[in-house]
Every structure is written in C-alpha cells, then in structure tokens.
Symmetry: D2
Subunit: 286 residues, 4 copies
C-alpha cells in the first residue's frame, strides 16, 4: 500500500457569538459579531499520533476573542487583524491564521439612548495572516435586491433541450453575497469603505439595464472597483431568484406583467469576479 499522508488541514473555534457594548457615551453603541477562527501550520503530530503539544485549544481561541474585545472591537477588519496576528505571532506552530467575522446590523430606535432594532444585512470580513503578510477581504450577505423592469434575456443559443422563450422584460431578483479584497491590510476608514461598497453594489444593480444577470454582476463589481481605489477584486455570488409570470388565461384573464410566482428551486446561480489588471497576488486571501 502506498503511503497515506496528511494533506491540507486547519482547525479552530467557529461561531463565537460576541456582543460588545460601548457605554462610554450617553448613547450606547453595540457591536454584534460572529467570529470564527481557523489555524494552520505544523499540525501533523496531532493527526498522526494525538500529540497535542502544538494544538492551542479551540477553547483558548474563544477566550482570546472575548478577552481582546475588552479593549474594544472597532472595525471588524481591524479586530480580525488583531486576532489573526496574535495567533501567528504567539504560536510557533501556527503559520497561517484566518479569522472570519460576521457583523449583524442594528439600528438605533429613534433617539433612544440604549435601544436597537436588528436589520437584514450582514457585514463580513475574512482576514488571513501568515509569516509573509496579511490579506483583508470585506463583504456583505443578506442583501436581497429586485428590479421590476429593465431586465431582458435573449440571443442565447438554443439546443435540443431549450424551450425558454426570449424575453425583453422580466423581473430580476437576487440575494447578493459579495466579497471584495483590499489592496493592503490597512485602510483609512474601513466603515466608509464598506458602506460605500454596498451602496455602489445597490446602485449598479438598480441602474444597470440588464441583458443578463452576468452583465449585472460584472457591472456591480466594476462599479465598486471604479469608485474604491483601496479595493482590487470583487467576487459575487448571485442566485437568480426566478419570478415566473403566471398564466391566467385559463381564467379568462390577461397578465400584463403584474402577477408572478416566486420560485424556490431550482434557481440560476451566477458567480463571477471583477478584478484590476494590476491587482497584487491574492495569496491565501480567499
């Protein structure tokens, strides 16, 4: 029998749910996070023989998340960098640390000093550090968009299995998962970078007269890169949430683009990337 060896591997604590309350000002601030850690390095011994001398417990990683939060969290990209660098710097066996953070969106209730309502969006960050450097990817999830017009789909090839009619006016809807890579592991204003990137995604979706969801996808990524020089690559995953016009003719009714069935499955899934030609290498960023 050929030798069987350890290949790619990592380990860590996943989904540490952290709420940080900042009570310094009269109006409290909250930061609501889900933090996951994945460490990689010289971990063969525990796999081969259960020698844990290089295995910092995932429980310790969790404790680190909460202890670091005592000093404040700030922007999730910075918090991820602090955590990732800590593990690489303090654990000799760990060559690479990846910290993935979801931040839930809360809005202050009116002018209440201490009360909040949760929204639909999730801000995300994935920070990866190794001995050579650090990479920061920011993103968004839970962004569901819909256009009622300005979407066409035609001119496609027709094979034996094609029955789809061409259309010059359809509903276009998707639940955006987007991630964008920063040129550097530092940013003057992570919050503004994120907010503007989300705004550009929405504006591009809303403003693009679409001949295909692929065209809309690229327009969204391109728009973000065109306006945000600190970013070099945008990856988008866009399910095509089909809305089918209902045939009401059996009931002697027309249906001039008014009544639709919103389908669950199957759905189209369009994934693509907009990238600068001179983007630095992504390394282990993704």
């Amino acid at each position: 029998m050929t030798g069987i060896v350890l290949g790619d591997n990592s380990y860590g604590k996943a989904e540490c749910r952290l709420l940080r309350v900042d009570r310094a000002a009269d109006q409290h601030q909250i930061t609501d996070l889900n933090v996951s850690i994945a460490l990689a390095g010289e971990l063969a011994a525990t796999h081969y023989s259960g020698d844990n001398s290089q295995v910092l417990p995932t429980d310790s990683q969790k404790n680190t998340v909460y202890a670091f939060a005592r000093d404040g969290v700030g922007q999730i990209e910075d918090f991820g960098l602090r955590l990732a660098r800590h593990f690489v710097d303090s654990q000799p066996a760990i060559g690479r640390a990846r910290v993935t953070i979801e931040q839930y969106d809360w809005t202050r209730n009116g002018d209440a000093a201490h009360s909040f309502t949760r929204g639909a969006l999730t801000r995300t960050a994935t920070v990866t550090c190794d001995g050579a450097g650090a990479w920061v990817v920011s993103g968004v999830a839970g962004l569901t968009l819909l256009n009622t017009t300005d979407s066409e789909f035609h001119g496609f090839p027709r094979d034996r299995y094609t029955t789809l009619p061409e259309t010059t006016d359809r509903i276009l809807a998707t639940a955006v998962t987007a991630r964008w890579r920063h040129a550097a592991a530092a940013c003057q204003d992570w919050a503004r970078s994120h907010g503007e990137s989300v705004r550009h995604l929405i504006d591009a979706f809303a403003g693009t007269h679409s001949l295909s969801l692929q065209q809309t996808l690229f327009a969204m990524g391109q728009r973000v890169l065109a306006h945000r020089p600190e970013l070099v690559e945008v990856r988008l995953s866009l399910p095509n949430k089909h809305h089918f016009l209902v045939d009401l003719s059996p009931f002697e009714l027309d249906n001039p683009g008014e009544v639709y069935f919103a389908a669950d499955r199957p759905y189209g899934l369009i994934e693509g990337t907009a990238i600068r030609e001179d983007a630095p290498p992504a390394g282990p960023a993704w």
Copy 2:
C-alpha cells in the same frame, strides 16, 4: 373496539408565493406575499372513503390566489378577506376558511423607479371567515430588539435548583412575534393601523424600564391597545435571547458590562396577552 371517528380537520394550499407588481404609476410598487389557505367543513366523506366530491383541489385554491391578484392585492387583510369569503361563499361544504398571509418588507432603492431592497420585517395577517362572521388578526415577525440597559431581574423565589444571581442591570433582547386582533373585519386604514402598532411595540420595548420580560411584554401589548382603538387583543411571544456577561477574570481583566456571549439555547420563552375587558369574543379568530 370503540367507534373511531373523524375529529378536527382542515386542508388547503400552503405557502403560495406571490409577487404583485403595480406598474400603473411611473414608480412601480411591489407586494411580495406568502399565502396559505386552510378550509374546514363537511369533509368526512373524503376521510372515510376517499369521496372527493366536496374537496376543492388545493391546486384550485392556489389558482384562486393568483387570479384574485390580477385585480390588485391592496392590504393583506383585505386580500385575505376576499379569499376567505370566496371559499366560504362558493363551496357549499366549506363552513370555515382561514387565510394566513406573510408580507415581506421591501424598500425602494433611493429614488429608483423600479428597484427595491428587502428588509428584515414580515407583516402578517390571519383572516378567518365562517357563516357567522369574519375575524382579522394582524401581526409582525422578524422584529429583533435589544436594550443595553434599563433591565433588571430580582426578587424571584429561590428553590433548591436556583443559582441565578439577582441583577439590576442586564441586556434585554428578544425576537418579537406579535399578533393583534381587530374589533371588526373592516378598518379605515389597515396600513396605518399596522405601521402604528409596530411603532408602539418598539416604543414600549425601548421605553419600559424592565423588571422582567413579562413586564415589558405586557407594556408592549398595553401600549398598542391604548393607542389603537380598532384593536382589542394583542398576543406576544418573546424569546428571551440571553446575553451572558463573560467572566474575564482568568485573564486579569474586569468586564464592566462590555463583553457578552450571545447564547442560542436554551432560552426563556415568555408568552402573554393584553386584552380589553370588553373585547368581543374571539370566535375562531386565532
């Protein structure tokens, strides 16, 4: 063997996903619904012998939802009333129809004429009709609220199994599911009634100095009834989404109400009702 007979029963089509687009104005409007129907009546024959002569197919019920939408949907309470009355009036065997509708929240993207982003809230309505009348229950789901202070919990009995310390300052968080019963099956302005009810729920949550989640719950229901004379009863289901202060002392750190662990399970579940003393009977409303 004793006779075994048919007891309570109903049937219908559940979760008809309907998007209605109103293109009459320059700015399009959308109504995004999930409609479920449950019919009850003289349905013993199909249960006992498979005689379907009184069983309007659930497929026909689905078709009815889409066909009725051709004339416009309007407020979900009205749409539910139209549908429920139709089934009771047109099907001799059907003595009671219940229509449950979820409406998803979409916000126009800036001043875009045709583009929308989905929010976190769900507006709900349950309409029940029988030969004697109609009952309307409106509600909300997906409303997640959090207060960072003004919440205490103490003075509770301590039995052998009580280890919980008393507290005069804790996080209070919940995901509200609320439903409120209308005095009549008609309303001058369903949309305003709903919007104001949700606002009062939030205001009462934010503004109540809480000694227990039960107190907050009743304050929420009471506030809605106090301001909305068209309503007679509010039912609330409030999970107590526990946030535990993390003990950072092993790391030689204090934690003055800043770093919390957001727990999943178990959770407290507080359910209660605020009702007018002279509320008309609920009948089959719930």
Copy 3:
C-alpha cells in the same frame, strides 16, 4: 379607555439540550433530548408591575432538568411527568406546567459498546399537569414517507379556477408530524407504545390504496387507535409533498411515470384527527 388586562400567558425555559449517558452496563446507552418547559398560573404581578415574587427563574427550570436527569431519564413521558408535577407541586403560584420533549434517534454502530449514529426520526412527548390531573401526548416528527403508486385523486368539484386534471396514479409523499393522546398518564410500556404507533403509521401509509391524502391520514390515525387501546386520539399534520410528472414531449420523449420534479412550495397541507367516540376529555392536553 376600556380597561386593558392580562389574558392567557405562560413562561419557561425552552430547548434545554440534554445528553444522558448510562454507563452502568458494558454497553453504554444514550438519551439525547431537547426539553422545553412552560408554566402558567398566578403570574399577573410580574406582568403588571415587575413583581417577580412568584416567578421561578427559567434558569432554575433549566437546572431542574439537568438535576433530575442525574437520577436517570427513562422514557420521555415519565421524565416529562416528573418535571411537570414537580413545578406544579413545588411552586404555589403555578397551576399548570407543560413539558415538551424531543428525543433524537441514535443507533448503535454495529456491536460497538460506546459508539452511535444519529437517525432521522424524532420522538416527541408533551406532558401537561394541573391540579386536576395529567395528560400525556406522544408523537413523532421527521418521518418522511413516499409511495410510488396506489394513489389516485379524482371526483373533486371543479370551479372557475380548477385546471387540475384527474389522476388515477400519482406519487404520494409526506413528512409526517403525528401526536397521539394517551387515555391515562400512565402506561405499562411507553417505549413499546411509541414504537408500535410509529409502525402502524407507516404500515397504514404503505398499505392504504389512497383516493386522497385525507383518506390516508384518517387510515393512519384509525390504525393506530385500532391497535393501541391505551390511546384515544391521534392528530396528524401531513404536507402533500407534490411530485409533478415532467413533460418531456418537447424533447420527443415520453414519460411513463418515471421522471418527476419534486416541488417545494406551495404544498397541500392536510390536518386531521382520529378520535374514539368515548374518548375522555382532552382538557389542557394539547
């Protein structure tokens, strides 16, 4: 303004996840539960004024679940009775306690003494106690069944919105949620009662030539009652998981009952009850 008062209410700890390991024998046994508690009684004071003197903390309820498990869990109906009676007997303000338990299904891995694989079924029990007595409802969830033939649907009324063709051969599939009420709060063998009830549900589904899902539903409930004298009522909730024959004619293919699309939404939802004519009153059992 009319007086606004407290209506129906309850509170308790929900979803206490408990694994009990019995290590007494060479082969370990495990009991994997999700326990939820809901207490009701004289709880107006906490709702009106935050007076918690009658509010046993939900944290104490959770502790009780784990402490009681120290003596062994046994059958979930018995464990529910122990817990429910404890709260009613020990808390003066509590007039009614309901304990809902889910038990996850684990199978021993071969003849391994200490190793298990989890299955798809969930055994359920809801135990309700008040001063007058105790009621036990057992049940099952996660039981997904499918027949490839022996299912017809025809003879139904046709209204303006009916387009469904009649069929004499269709797929019948459902995800069973069933609950059955015991005549008394004691049973010689809860485990056998449960196992046989599930077997009868499956046998009735498999063995009934179905003219409607309603007919199958009643046959399932009737079969359980006919064979289990300790039970008096069976409630079933059966989504009709539609499988649509795909029209392959555009590809010059026939489809003699071989290729189906399994749809998600909408779905039919059939709910019904089989009950003995002389069943004792259900009281607060459900």
Copy 4:
C-alpha cells in the same frame, strides 16, 4: 484608472430536484436527487456587454437533467459524468462543467413493493469535466456520530487565555461531511465503493481511541484509503459538537459522566485531508 476585467466565473442551474421511479420490476426503485450544474468557459461577452450568444440558458440545463433521467439515472457519479460531458461536448464555449449531486437516502418499508421512508444520510458526488479529463469526488453528509468514551484531550500548550482543563475521558461527537476523490473517472461499482467508504468512516470513528479529533479525522480518512484502492484522497470537515458535563454540585449531586449539556455554538471545526503520496494531480476536481 487601471483596467478592470473579468476574473473567475461560472454559471448554471442549481438544485434541480429530481425523483426517478423505476417501475420495471415488481418492486419499484426510487432515486431522489438534487442536481446542480456550474459551467465555465468563454463567457466574457455576456459579462461585458450582455451578448448571450454563448450562454446556454440555465433553464435548458434543467431540462437536460430531466431529459437525461428518462434513460435512467443509475449511480450518481455516472449521471454526473453524462451530464458534465454533455455540456462540455455540445457547447463550444464551455470549457469546464461541474455537476454536483445530492442523493437522499430512502429505505423500503418492510417488504412493501412501492413504499419508502427517508433516512438521515445524504450521498454526494461532484463530477468535473474539462477538455483534458474528468474528475469524480464522492462523499457523504448528514452522518452524525457520537462516542461516549475513549476520547481524551490533554498535552496541549497553555497560553494566557487557556483555562480548559485536561481530560482523559470526554464525549466525542461530530456531524461528518466527507468527500473522497477517485483515482479515475470510472469505477467498477460506485455503489459498493460508496457504501464501503461510509462504513469505514464509521468504523474508524467508533474504533479509534482518540487523543484529539484531529487524530480521529486522520484515522477516518486513512482507513478509507487503506481499504479502497480506487480512492486517492479523502477530505473531512468535522465540527466538534461539544458536550459539557453539567456541574450538579450546587444541588448536592455528583455527576460521574452522566449528565451533559449539548452546546450549539461556538464549536470546534476540524478540517483535514488524508492523501496518497502518489496521488495523481487533483486538477479542477475540488
């Protein structure tokens, strides 16, 4: 501004739910699948300008799944190969096709000819074809395992944030997601290969005295490769489903490894690979 160009991209129809019934024998057979397709190639035109001349509609891809099923599905690896090769061979612009299939597990009800119950396991396959070749990855999901003993964790490094005590006896539980790569895109008996691989995973989990979940993970992958020469690489993702011994001392009870709290989040996540030293390149297999 630097040029912004299209990077990695693919598109296709996701989650085509297909039930195939084989009625040839007296006992029917069923194959219940969820099929997803992702195509990549010369697709820049649609992204840049909405030129769809190379974009076979995802609707056509869905039709292809159902049409191909008319000839029988067989093993999912073969069905995936048929589909993936079809798209690469018939669409000039498509250089690579990936077909991902989930197969749900159904067991015949006793000796019923036409009736089935669904189980917990999901069999998976990912087939990737390009002009150069084809790669087949099989796998399993939904396999939840638990050992009540023979699991230790100690000898780990302790940093400032480490509070975890060492243990020589703990519960070990995980929900296995495993995928294994075949040496070639052909197999004498895919079904046997799959069944035996799952059996070896379970046997290795049950039979390994574990000093870390990493050790168990590698033992599982190694066992599969040691017994299945047709396979060259096994990737495992194992959440460490923590079960915490409950401290019952406040209730004056001991807890000799009997009462556990099953936690949800956070959880450890252990991911790793066992691979043959002479494994052929994975190419685009994963």
